[in-house]
C-alpha cells in the first residue's frame, strides 16, 4: 500500500528578484540552499515531493491585510508568488495530500502588519496570515491555528494581525527587542481584549544558542500547544538565530533548528528571515527538511561550529525567568481581570508609532477595539503615514473579526459609512474576512488621489 508523502516542499528561490542588488533579500539568497538540497538528493526521496507555487489573488491578500492604496501598488509579482506558495503549502496539508509542508520561499512576510503602506523588515505581504485566512475561509472560519515564530526578529507583523483573534495563538521567540529590529516583543505584550494571553513573546538575550531556544520550546511552547489544541501548527522558521548570521547576535546551530523542528512537529513550516546564505541556510534547511520528513538529521552540521556551542548546557537566567513569567500568564489567562488591563470603556484604544525601515516610512496609528461580550469585537483604525519624500497617506479602516456578532456587524457598517463621510481620509476600507467574494471594500475619496 502506498503511504502518504510525508513532506510537500514548495521551494521558490525567486532567482530573478531582489529588493536591491546588494540587499540581503536578493537573488543569491537561496542559491546555496538549492545546491545543497539537490546535491543531497533530497527530492528523490520517497518521503519528499516538490510542488510549484501558485500566485496569490488580490482577494486572498485582502482577506488578511489592507494594502494602501491597493495590493497592486505595494506588491511585486514575487510577493504574490511567495504568498501563493505558502497557500499551496497550506492546501497540501489541509487537503491531506501530504502530512506536512514546507514553504521554502522568499521574500518573507512576518514584519508585514495589518495595514500595509510599504515594506518593512524586508516584508510587504504577511505570507503566514494570507495562508491562514485562506484556510479559514475554506473551513468557514472553523480552524484553530497556532503560529510559532522562531525568527531572530520579533514577528511584529503577524502579532499585529492576530493580537485580538481568539482562534489564533501567536508565539514569537526572538532576540531581545532592546538589541535588535523591530524593538518590540517584550514579555508583557499579551494580546488584545478579545484574545488575551494568546499572544506570547519570549525575548532571548543576545548570544543565546540551542540551549535557550530549546528550553523555551520545551518548557513553554509545547505545554501551551497541548492546552490550546490547535488544528494546525505553523512554524514561521526564520534562520537568522544562526551563529553565522550577519545581522543578528545569536548562536543557534543547524542541529538546534532540526531538533526544534522535531520537538515542535509543525504541520507547516514557512521560511522567514535568515541571511547567512552560505554558512547557515544550506545546512539549516537540510536539517529542517530531514526532521520534517522523519529522517535522521544527526549528520547535518556546519563546516565550523561556534566555540560557544561546545559548552552548551546551562540556560541563561533571563530565559528561565521569562519562561516562568509566561507560564504563569498562560495558566491564569482565563482568570485575569480584563477590565484592569483594557479599561471599562466601550472601546479599548491604543496609539502607536510604526516605522518601515525598508521603505523609510513613518506611520502613526490609532486603533479602537469594541469591548464586546458576544464576539472579539470590531475594530476601527486611523492611519497617518509619510514617506521620505514627505508624501502623505491618511486612511481609515473598519475591521470585522471572524464570527462577528450581529451588533458588531451593524455598528461596523455604520462606522464605515460615517468614515466615508469624513473629508480627511484618502481611502476608507471595510474588511470582513468572512465575506467570500469581497473581503475588502475600499472607497477612494474623490480628489484625494
Amino acid at each position: 500500500m502506498e503511504t502518504k508523502t510525508k513532506l510537500g516542499l514548495v521551494f521558490f528561490p525567486a532567482f530573478d528578484w531582489a529588493i536591491a542588488p546588494d540587499h540581503p533579500e536578493r537573488e543569491e539568497r537561496l542559491l546555496y540552499t538549492r545546491d545543497q538540497i539537490r546535491e543531497e538528493g533530497l527530492l528523490d526521496l520517497p518521503e519528499i515531493a516538490e510542488f510549484r507555487p501558485q500566485i496569490a489573488t488580490r482577494q486572498e491578500i485582502e482577506r488578511a491585510q489592507i494594502c494602501v492604496p491597493s495590493v497592486e501598488k505595494v506588491c511585486t509579482e514575487s510577493h504574490l508568488i511567495a504568498a501563493g506558495g505558502t497557500i499551496t503549502a497550506g492546501d497540501l496539508v489541509v487537503s491531506g495530500q501530504t502530512e506536512r509542508a514546507f514553504a521554502l520561499l522568499r521574500p518573507p512576510g512576518h514584519h508585514a502588519l495589518r495595514i500595509v503602506h510599504g515594506s518593512r523588515g524586508f516584508c510587504t505581504i504577511n505570507i503566514e496570515a494570507v495562508m491562514v485566512e485562506y484556510l479559514r475561509q475554506r473551513r468557514n472560519g472553523r480552524l484553530r491555528v497556532a503560529i510559532v515564530d522562531t525568527d531572530a526578529h520579533h514577528a511584529d507583523g503577524t502579532q499585529d494581525i492576530y493580537y485580538n483573534d481568539p482562534d489564533v495563538l501567536h508565539i514569537s521567540i526572538h532576540q531581545d527587542g532592546r538589541t535588535l529590529y523591530p524593538g518590540t516583543g517584550a514579555v508583557n505584550e499579551l494580546g488584545g481584549p478579545g484574545a488575551y494571553g494568546l499572544t506570547l513573546n519570549v525575548p532571548l538575550p543576545p548570544g543565546s544558542g540551542d540551549a535557550e531556544l530549546l528550553y523555551a520550546v520545551e518548557h513553554l511552547v509545547l505545554p501551551v500547544l497541548r492546552d490550546f489544541q490547535p488544528d494546525l501548527i505553523i512554524n514561521a522558521a526564520g534562520q537568522d538565530n544562526h551563529f553565522t548570521d550577519p545581522i543578528t547576535n545569536m548562536n543557534v546551530t543547524a542541529q538546534g533548528y532540526a531538533r526544534l523542528t522535531e520537538l515542535l512537529a509543525p504541520d507547516l513550516v514557512v521560511l522567514e528571515g535568515g541571511y547567512s546564505i552560505e554558512g547557515a541556510l544550506p545546512y539549516v534547511n537540510v536539517g529542517i527538511i530531514l526532521a520534517l520528513a522523519g529522517l535522521d538529521y544527526s549528520g547535518v552540521r556546519e563546516p565550523e561550529l561556534p566555540p560557544a556551542a561546545k559548552k552548551a548546557g546551562r540556560v541563561h537566567d533571563a530565559v528561565v525567568k521569562n519562561v516562568a513569567f509566561l507560564q504563569e500568564v498562560w495558566a491564569k489567562r482565563k482568570e485575569t481581570d480584563l477590565a484592569a488591563v483594557f479599561g471599562r470603556d466601550d472601546y479599548f484604544r491604543r496609539k502607536r508609532h510604526l516605522y518601515y525601515d525598508t521603505d523609510d516610512i513613518h506611520e502613526v496609528q490609532v486603533e479602537e477595539i469594541k469591548l464586546c461580550t458576544q464576539c472579539s469585537g470590531y475594530r476601527k483604525i486611523h492611519s497617518y503615514a509619510e514617506d521620505r519624500r514627505r508624501k502623505q497617506a491618511q486612511i481609515a479602516a473598519v475591521l470585522l473579526p471572524w464570527h462577528a456578532c450581529g451588533a458588531c456587524q451593524q455598528q461596523a457598517a455604520e462606522a464605515f459609512e460615517q468614515l466615508c463621510a469624513e473629508p480627511e481620509w484618502d481611502d476608507v476600507y471595510f474588511q470582513n474576512p468572512a465575506d467570500l467574494k469581497q473581503p475588502l471594500v475600499s472607497r477612494a475619496r474623490r480628489g484625494k488621489r
Binding site: 525567486a14 530573478d16 546588494d22 539537490r38 508568488i81 549528520g299 547535518v300 552540521r301
Partner: protein, 565 residues
C-alpha cells in the same frame, strides 16, 4: 553521402537497416541469439553489406543499439562493485538509498567547491584493501559536491593507479555528470564501474571484426538518442543503457509525418510507454534515467510507463471493467487463460488473431452472469482501456506542467505543454489509438508497424554530449568536471556571462576533438545558464556562473515510403 548501417539488438529480434542519405536501401531481420549476441549481429551485418552497390564499397559507418549494458544491470551480471565515498556533512551516508557497498572516507567539499575537510591517504589505502579483501572487483569513487571540486576524486584515482593497479581503472563520479545529486552520482558511477569490464570485452570483439567488414566509424546509441564513439564507451558504458527505447523514439522522429507537440503511446503486451514531444523534440528526464528502479544521472528521454497493454488482466464486476496492471499472458484467442483487451478487439473484429470463437466464449462467460452479450462487453473493455490510457496521458501532462520553476518570470509565463496530436505505436495500437484520441479530443496517427523502426532510429542519430561549466570569480576558479578541467580565472573583474559562454563552447569543441569528432562551434548550444552576484557584508565580491552546453541534437529524416520498400 556515404552509406550507414543501423542495427538494433532487441530482446526478440535483431533488426538492421542500410541507409544512404534519407533513403533506406535494405532492411534485415534475424532472431536475437541470446547465447551469442555477436553471431546474430554479424549475420545482419553480412546481409546488409551484401546489399551495398559495388560503387558504394568502402568503409561504412555503423550505429549500434544494444541491450548489453541494460541487461548486464537488470540481470545483475556486472562484477561486484564497491564505492569509496566522501560524504561530508548532510544526510547520513548510512541512509543513502543506493544498492552498493559504500566505504566512507574523511574529507569534505562545500557547495562552492571549497575543501572543508582534508582527505586521509592512509584511510583511502585501508578502504581499498578492505574492498579488495571483501572480494570487490571494481571500484567507483564519488565525493559530495565533486562536480564543484574533483581534486579528492583525482587524488584517490592516482593513489589506486600507483598502489593498487589491479583495481584500476576506477570510475570517478564527476566525469560522468556535472549535475548535483550525490546519491544518483554514486549509483551512476557504481553501475558504470560494474559493467566496464563487460563493455571493454564487447569493444574488443567489435574492433576485431572491424576490418573484416570494412567498417568505418562505429558508434553506440545512448539513452538520450545520441551516439557515443565505440572507443569512448569503455569509459562511459552506463550512457548506453535504455538505448532500445531511445532507438524507438528516434525511429518515430525519423519516420513520423508531423511531431511538433505530440504525445506518443507505444502499446505493448504488458505495459504502454508514454513519450512527449514539444516543438518537434522529445522531452528529456530532468535529472536522468531510472534503471532497474535506481535513479541515475544518465541523460535520457522522458517516458512514463503504464501498466496497461494488450495482455493485461481484465476484470468485470457487473458495472465497471478494470484493466491491469497485471499481465495474464497471451489472450484467450491465442490459447491464454483469461480475458485480455486483445480478446475484446478480436471479438469486435478489429484484429484477425488466433481463435475468435475462443475469445467470444470467454467474453460470453464473463458477461453472462450480468446479462451482457460478448460484443457489448468487448466495447466496454475497449472503452475502459481508452479511458485509462487517456487519464494516464493527462496525468503526465499535469506532472510536466507542475514541474517546479525557480524564477518569477517562469511562474508568470507558466508552462503550457499541451498535446496537439496522438501518435500510436505497437501491435495493438491500431485498434485502441482512435478511441484514446477520441477520449482526449486529439487527432491521431498510428505509425505503420515497422520492423526496422528501431534500427532506423539508431542509424538516424548523431553524437551528443554535454558539459557543465562552473565559474566562481570570487574564488577566481572555473571547472568543467566532465573534462577534468580546472583553471584560474585570470581577470575576475572582466569575466562575464559572454566570457562564460565562450568558454563553455570552447570546452565542448575541445571535448568533441578529444573524441575524434569535428564539431563547429555553431553546432553547440547553451542549454542552461545562471549568473549570480555574490554579495558579502554589503559588498559585491564576485559572480558565480553555472552553464551547460551541448551539441545541438539533430536527426536525419527518413522518407517513409522508401522505408517501407
Amino acid at each position: 553521402m556515404s552509406a550507414l548501417i543501423g542495427i538494433d539488438v532487441g530482446g526478440t529480434n535483431t533488426n538492421g537497416v542500410l541507409l544512404k542519405g534519407s533513403l533506406v536501401l535494405k532492411t534485415v531481420k534475424a532472431p536475437t541469439n541470446h547465447a551469442n549476441l555477436h553471431a546474430g549481429t554479424q549475420e545482419v551485418l553480412t546481409q546488409l553489406l551484401a546489399a551495398l552497390p559495388e560503387k558504394e564499397r568502402g568503409p561504412v559507418g555503423l550505429h549500434l543499439s544494444t541491450t548489453l549494458a541494460t541487461n548486464a544491470i537488470v540481470e545483475g551480471k556486472g562484477v561486484p562493485t564497491a564505492v569509496l565515498i566522501i560524504p561530508g556533512p548532510g544526510l547520513r551516508w548510512e541512509d543513502l538509498r543506493v544498492p552498493f557497498k559504500l566505504y566512507p572516507l574523511a574529507g569534505a567539499i562545500d557547495h562552492r567547491g571549497r575543501e572543508t575537510g582534508p582527505l586521509d591517504q592512509a584511510e583511502v589505502r585501508a578502504a581499498v584493501r578492505a574492498a579488495k579483501a571483501a572480494g570487490y572487483q571494481a571500484l567507483a569513487v564519488v565525493g559530495k559536491f565533486s562536480p564543484r571540486n574533483f581534486q579528492h576524486e583525482l587524488a584517490i584515482e592516482a593513489l589506486i593507479q600507483a598502489e593498487f593497479p589491479e583495481m584500476a581503472p576506477v570510475t570517478l563520479g564527476h566525469r560522468l555528470s556535472g549535475r548535483l545529486n550525490f546519491p544518483r552520482r554514486i549509483t551512476t558511477a557504481a553501475l558504470n564501474a560494474s559493467i566496464a569490464g563487460i563493455q571493454a570485452e564487447f569493444v574488443r570483439m567489435v574492433e576485431a571484426v572491424k576490418d573484416q567488414y570494412q567498417l568505418g566509424k562505429i558508434y553506440l546509441l545512448k539513452a538520450d538518442g545520441g551516439t557515443l564513439a565505440l572507443a569512448e564507451s569503455v569509459n562511459r558504458s552506463i550512457e548506453t543503457i535504455l538505448s532500445g527505447p531511445a532507438a524507438s523514439l528516434m525511429g518515430t522522429m525519423a519516420l513520423a509525418a508531423e511531431l511538433e507537440d505530440a504525445v506518443a503511446l507505444d502499446i505493448g503486451g504488458t505495459t504502454s510507454e508514454i513519450s512527449v514531444f514539444s516543438g518537434g523534440e522529445a522531452l528529456t528526464e530532468r535529472e536522468g534515467a531510472v534503471i532497474a528502479g535506481f535513479p541515475t544521472l544518465v541523460p535520457a528521454f522522458f517516458s512514463r510507463s503504464l501498466g496497461l497493454g494488450g495482455d493485461s488482466q481484465v476484470t468485470f464486476d457487473g458495472t465497471e471493467v478494470a484493466i491491469g496492471p497485471q499481465r495474464v499472458g497471451p489472450p484467450v484467442a491465442l490459447g491464454g487463460p483469461q480475458v485480455t483487451p486483445t480478446d475484446a478487439v478480436v471479438v469486435l473484429g478489429g484484429a484477425a488473431l488466433g481463435d475468435e470463437q475462443k475469445a467470444s466464449a470467454a467474453l460470453q462467460a464473463m458477461g453472462a452472469p450480468f446479462g451482457l452479450e460478448p460484443r457489448a462487453l468487448a466495447a466496454k473493455i475497449v472503452a475502459a482501456f481508452a479511458q485509462k490510457a487517456a487519464a494516464a496521458i493527462r496525468a503526465v501532462y499535469a506532472e510536466l506542467n507542475n514541474r517546479p520553476v525557480y524564477t518569477v518570470s517562469q511562474v508568470l509565463a507558466g508552462t503550457d505543454l499541451k498535446p496537439k496530436r496522438l501518435i500510436g505505436m505497437g501491435g495493438p495500437a491500431a485498434y485502441f489509438i482512435p478511441k484514446i484520441g477520441e477520449e482526449l479530443g486529439l487527432p491521431y496517427e498510428v505509425l505503420p508497424h515497422h520492423e526496422a523502426a528501431n534500427a532506423i532510429g539508431a542509424a538516424a542519430s548523431r553524437p551528443t554530449f554535454a558539459i557543465t561549466l562552473r565559474a566562481d570569480t570570487a574564488l577566481e576558479k572555473m571547472v568543467v568536471p566532465e573534462l577534468d578541467y580546472t583553471a584560474e580565472i585570470g581577470q575576475p573583474f572582466t569575466f562575464n556571462l559572454a566570457t562564460a559562454r565562450q568558454e563553455a563552447v570552447r570546452q565542448t569543441v575541445n571535448y568533441a576533438k578529444k573524441m575524434g569528432l569535428v564539431i563547429d562551434s555553431s553546432e553547440i548550444e547553451i542549454t542552461e545558464e545562471e549568473v549570480f552576484n555574490m554579495v558579502r557584508h554589503f559588498y559585491t565580491v564576485g559572480k558565480n556562473f553555472n552553464l551547460r552546453a551541448q551539441v545541438k541534437p539533430k536527426i536525419r529524416r527518413i522518407l517513409p515510403e522508401q522505408a517501407d520498400a
